[in-house]
Each structure stands twice: as C-alpha cells, then as structure tokens.
C-alpha cells in the first residue's frame, strides 16, 4: 500500500511500487487527464508536478514518490496555471488535445521559474513535449501571452 498526496487529497494505492506513477494515476486513481504517449521519457504527455516541479510520470516509480505533493492537470491552480489555461483557450492552441495536459504542465513549470521566458528558454523547457499535431507555434505564442498577463 502506497500513500499518495495528489491534488490536495490523500490516496491509498495498492500496486507494485515499481509501477510508474503514470499508471497508478490513470488506472488506479482513474484520473485520466495525464496521458501516456511513449513510456520512455520522449514525449512529455505524462508530465505532472512533484512539489511544483514538472516530472515525467512514466519515469517516476510509485515507490519513489514518498511524501512529495503530486499535481495533475485536474488539480492545477494559482495565477500561473490560470494564466496558462487562459492563454491556451484564448489562442485556441489545441488540436487533438492529447498532448496538451503535458504541454501545459511543462509551461506552468517554466513560467513558475521564469516570468519572462525568451524563445530560447521556451525551446529548452518545451523540447521534451511532443505535439504530433504540430501546435508548437501556438504553444509558444500562448506561453508569451501568459507571461505578459502575469507581468
């Protein structure tokens, strides 16, 4: 039995501690906003926050989470999260939308550390998040837009 603190609640998960956090969240807690895309740290679809830092849930073992606070797309809050979500909606970033939970989690991570990211900062922070629909231009614009609204 593993105890998880996720989106401000405590959950008991009965699963192999080797299980990636991604599958514990999706299959045991049935929170499906966090997505599976590759399972090998190549796409970022599974990005969640551990104590506010973006991590790949497919590479995080359930047994290693410990007391860290997990946040998923369903639980994001605060001015940065709101600015990101508002910008994503304003610019109609999404296409299929499947990658976008991960994109937003990475963008929130970036903007939490860096209030005015340059294009190079965005490249560095977002290169691990694949969007197969190719929405990168709007993701970049939305991050700049969110940064402006936070300034």
């Amino acid at each position: 039995m593993t105890t998880l603190t996720l989106n401000g609640r405590t959950y008991e998960v009965e699963a192999d501690p080797e299980m990636p956090l991604l599958w514990a969240i999706r299959d045991h807690l049935n929170l499906t906003g966090t997505k599976y895309g590759c399972g090998i740290a190549q796409c970022g679809a599974c990005t969640v926050h551990l104590d506010g830092q973006p991590v790949r849930a497919c590479q995080t073992r359930l047994g290693d989470v410990g007391a860290a606070k997990i946040t998923t797309i369903e639980g994001i809050s605060g001015p940065v999260a709101e600015a990101v979500r508002t910008a994503w909606r304003k610019l109609d970033v999404v296409q299929c939308g499947y990658c976008q939970s991960g994109q937003m989690m990475s963008a929130i991570g970036l903007l939490s550390d860096n209030k005015a990211p340059s294009d190079a900062d965005i490249d560095a922070a977002m290169d691990g998040n694949v969007c197969r629909c190719g929405t990168y231009q709007r993701i970049r614009a939305a991050i700049h837009d969110a940064a402006r609204s936070l300034a």
Binding site: M19, P20, H28, T32, K35, C38, T72, Y136, Q137
Partner: protein, 739 residues
Amino acid sequence: MLNSRIKTRQVPLREDAVTSRRTFLRGSATAAGALVIGLTLDLKGARAAGGPDLSKAPAKPNAFVRIAADDTVTVVIKHLDMGQGNTTGLATIVAEELDADWGQMRAVFAPADASLYNNLAFGPIQGTGGSTAVANSWIQLRKAGAAARAMLVAAASAEWKVPAGEITIEKGVMRHKSGKEGRFGAFAAKAAVQPIPENPALKDPAAFRLIGTTLKRLDSDAKTDGSAKYALDVRRPGQLTALVARAPRFGATLKSVDDTAAKAVPGVVQVVRIPSGVAVVARDTWSAMKGREALTLTWDDAGAERQSTESQAAAYKALADKPGLVASQRGDAAGAIKGAAKVLEAEFSFPYLAHAPMEPLNATIERAGDGSYDIYAGSQFQTIEQAVAAGILGTTADKVRITTLWAGGSFGRRATASADYIAEAAAILKATGEKAPIHLVWTREDDITGGYYRPAAYHRIRAGLDAKGAITGWEHRIVGKSIIIGTPLEAMMVKDGVDATTVEGASDTPYALPAYRFEVHNAREGVPVLWWRSVGHSHTAQAMEVFVDELAHAAGQDPVAYRLGLLKQAPRLSAALTLAAEKAGWSARDQKPGRGYGVAAHESFGSYVAMVADVTAEAGKVKVNRIVAAVDVGVAVNPDVIRAQVEGAVGFALSSVLRNRITFKDGEVQEKNFDTYEPTRMSEMPKVEVHIVPSAAAPTGIGEPGVPVLAPAIANAVFAATGQRLRSLPLDVAGLRGV
C-alpha cells in the same frame, strides 16, 4: 420525435456536460422543450450495403440539431474529430443558417448509424477521411439549420400572431417590429410540432455572419482542463486491460506459447490466443505490460515478410526498368522527349512512414445484458468497425453500438478496411468469454512497429525541354504497394489495376504537359500499408514539385513564373501560388549562399495550397526558418481552424521531411519508439504564416492538403541555398556538403 437510440447514445464532450445532458433528456422525454430537426436521406445505398432496412420502421429523422429549453443548440457530429476541428466547423454551419449565437452552440458525437450519419462522400458508410467532413456536410447541415430556423419562426409567428416573414433572428434572438422578442429555448417545444420544411431557403453567402469569422473552438475548454475524454480514458465497471504480443515479422504465425510466467505476474487475469497473437489481460496497464514481457513465444516465419530496406529499394528500381500499368497518358511522350533540346531525368525514393498519433490505438468493448455489444473508440470508420466486430462476435452489425470519443490524432491510422485494432479487441472479448469489458491498448512500440504504414515508393521521371525551356514531354513511373488492392474497397476504388491513391497528384497533374505518360507498378509485399495524412500526395507532390523546379532551373526561369506559365488552365492553384509568393516577398527574396527560398504548389482533395519555405542550410544541417502558405479551400468556414490545420501540417510533416523513416532488417522493423522515430519538436518549428484565398466556391477540406507541399518547398529551398538537389525523403541532410 427524439429517436430513443440517439437519446441514450450521445456522448457528452466533457464530464460536466453529463448533468445538463441528463436534465435535458428528462425534459425531452416528457415532450417538453426539445426540437429535433430531421432530414430524410436516400436510404437506397444503405440497404444495398446490407444496412438496416428502415423502410418499415417508424420514421426516424436524421437528427443533426437539437434545441433545448435552456436555449442551447446541440449539433450532432457524425465525424471523428481527431484534432482537425470539424466539431467546430460543423457546428458553425448549423449556427449560421440558424442565426444562432455562437455561445449557445454545443456538440455531441453521433452514434454509429450509417442510415442517418453516413459520409455523403463515401456513400453508405459512416466514416471520416479524405478531408471530407466539412465538404460532405455543407449542404446537409445548412439545410438542417435552415429547417430548424423556419420551424422556430413558424412557432413564433403562431404565438405572436404576426406573419412569419416579419420575424427576424439575430444572435439567437427572434424579434418582431411590434416589440415582441424571444429566444430559441422558449419556442423549442412549439417549434418541434411544426412541419419540417423539405427545402428550406438557404442563406445568401453574402449574409454569412459566423462563417468566415474567428470563433472559439468548441473543444478548447475540455482539452485544457483534463476533462476531454479519449478512448484511452474509458473506464467501464470491471474492465480489464489487454496488450497483445504480435509477431516480430509481418505474416508470421504463432508456433508455441509458454504463458506460465506471464500468468504468475500479479494483476494478470488471463492469457488468450487470438488471430494476431497472444493477448495478456490484466487488472491494469502496467500488469499487462509485465505479463506480456514474461511470455515465451516462438513464431513460424514460413509465410513471413523477410525483406530489408536495401533489398526492397533494389527491387523497386528493377521494377521501374520495366513498363508498368498506364495511369494516364496523352500524345507520344517518348517521342516528344527524344526530339527535345534538353532531357532531364531524376529518381525519388520514399520510405514507409508510421502515423504515430499521440494517443496510441485502443478501444474498449463489452457485452451488454441483452447480448448486444458496446465499443468505445476514436472510431473513424464506424460502419466497417460494426460489421467487422459483428462478424467476429457472431452477431449482426446493428447489435454493435459504437460510442465515438475524441481521438488523440489519427492521420489515417484509425481508418482501416480491416478495422484491425477493433477486430483485435473483439477477438479478445470473445476469447475471454465475454465476461468483463476489455480495453485493448497498443503501446507506442506496438504502434511504431505495427504496420499500416504509408507505403514506400519509388519514382523515376524523364522530361524534355525545347530550346526555350518549355516542356515537350513527361514520362513518369511510380512503384509502390497499393493501399486498396486486396482490401474490400478494391472493387470500388481500383480501375484496371491502377489504384488512384498511388498516383494521385501526379497522373492528374494540373500542369499543362503537351505529352505525358504516367505508369504504375503495384509492388507485392507483406507489409500492411495505409493512407497517411494526404495519402498518395505525400510522395507524388515531392516528385512533381521538385522535378518542375529542376526544369525551371534548367530552363533558366524563375520557379514561380515557370509554374504559373504551366498553370494557365488552373486558375485556383495559380492564385494560391501568386498569393504565397507575394506574401513571402518572393521577388525581393534574400538569396545568399547557405540561405534559400523554395516554392511548391499542389492541389489535393479539392483544395489548393502553395508554400514558400525559407531555410538555412549548411553541411549536415537544415533549419527551416519560415513557411508562408496560401490556401484556397472554397468558402473558409472557420479561418482560424484552417490556419491551425496548415500550421499543424507543417509541424506534423517536418519530421518526415528531415528524418522519419520505417526501415526493415530481415523483415523486422528497426524503429520502436519516439527515440528512433522522432516527431518534430518545439525548437525545430518554423514560423508559419497562412493566408487564405477568398473564395465563394463550396468548401473543401484542409486536414490533409497542407502536408504535400512542405517537403518540396523545403527541398527546393535547400537547392537554392546550396546548389544541391535532395530529392528523396527524408532529405539526406547528413549528406549535405557545405556551400
């Protein structure tokens, strides 16, 4: 009036819609407050195809529009939305004719029912593809919206006792000059009992108020808070997750299986054999993965495909030495080339490509208490999937319901004539005794190695130029495996052995060629192939547009002007090309060593797209700086969705221009995941500008047409920058010498 099947089968687009939907349905069950607009389709086709015979059934109107007492207008979306935004587009068409306010519009996905929701471009089949969603629905949904409007007006006219002709509607508010005013919701119940006008008057396009403007996508909210439901997110009570171990080589069969270790993995419930391999069924995805790894399998390779990429390339070249089937011809191309002042020749190779949609293939299937079945999927070919699943489960197609959910991309992969992954899910359900709902999941590795690739192709072209640089003749041979031959679609789509999807975009070129001959060889091999976003155009546009560029260069003429000279009979493509060149600053472009501009123009799926690429190229490196596109898609229903599709086409296709390929060694696919089949990433994305050619023509699609022109625009820009012609895809960037 509400068809009960439709009532219970509609899927909310987001979780929180469930509550309001229930309220609405309860209201409508008491016949209060709901209006359903129906248009009766010609059902001959559906009957001929063995669909349900509805002639004896009570009238079941083809419901596309529902107006609820709470003033929401819900459009029933008969197509899969895999990101191309057709949910927004189709709702826009209805809203326009209805004079609704965009804020009151909602959408739900239609149930699988070809008698109501067939794709008019596909005949009796419900399905999505070929960039047809808006095009085939255009008149159908305008009529549905206009009929709903007329019925609302009739209801208000009766209530207000004023002539219908004096009632106006603006942004969902009906008004009469007497001062009377009302919203749709208040009249929904009374409108529902009005006669359905057979031929409602459609708006004059000059009066369009929503079409052609920027409207917020209907899916933005649900896709930015984690609530949008994809097939992978389906959680049915008691459902089990299944992974399948498939043969490493296409065509191999299972010889033996030892599942002792797999069954000992905690969470694994059952291991079953199905036609495509061995399925491990477990309580969660992780257990299924561990269970699958623990299987010991041996395969019989007697009938297996054993080719390597190199041996295949050699075989394709050898085939191209021989005459093929004629796809199109005019005059004596060979003679015209013989007498030419200059003769150019080129060859182009194209690899297999995987679609790799972000959401891997998956579907949930379960048996209901009455012996019917439910499938939950990002369903792209509903009618085929119903039939295939029914065949496996020993029932009839009408006993197979499909709930279509948002799809995390497809690019063609979810639409197979064999309904491959749905068939697998049905086979597992059957093999497990139809007890628990089965969620079949493909991992990314399953997806990349699983076949149904864009076919590999080889093109050889010869053309002659006269002394002034004009084309005298064009000979063109294409080798590739047909997507259609050998499938149930062959009878419908293949003529004299020529599969149009192998040669489209070449054999029907809009360029004025005085003499030409296009031939095709259908390569026979065991690798399953499929349409990949833009189908044949994904390779023919590269061959045509790079070779025309070479001819322009050989003729000493400007590539844009040279093309325009060949497109006098193709005004729409000419206009797109002219606009793209103008917006890109073509005539004043800054050409210097290492920096180049390239152009390409191509028609596909009735849409016309031109692109100018601005690239920086050096030894072993290509960086695409900027893409300027111009598109003519007829009436631009949602300009921002059109722009998004072209931006997305660039992001999607760029990795196939620069690096993606599926290769084989002794029949085994070498690429496994995004590390070896790497999609475009943020830092590579060029700036994309999209310009729309104003048009009053009927709308065509834009899901695919942005893709074909990207590769040749970039290849031609690389030539301009470096003087080196990279013809084959992916471009041989590593082989690029410095300038």
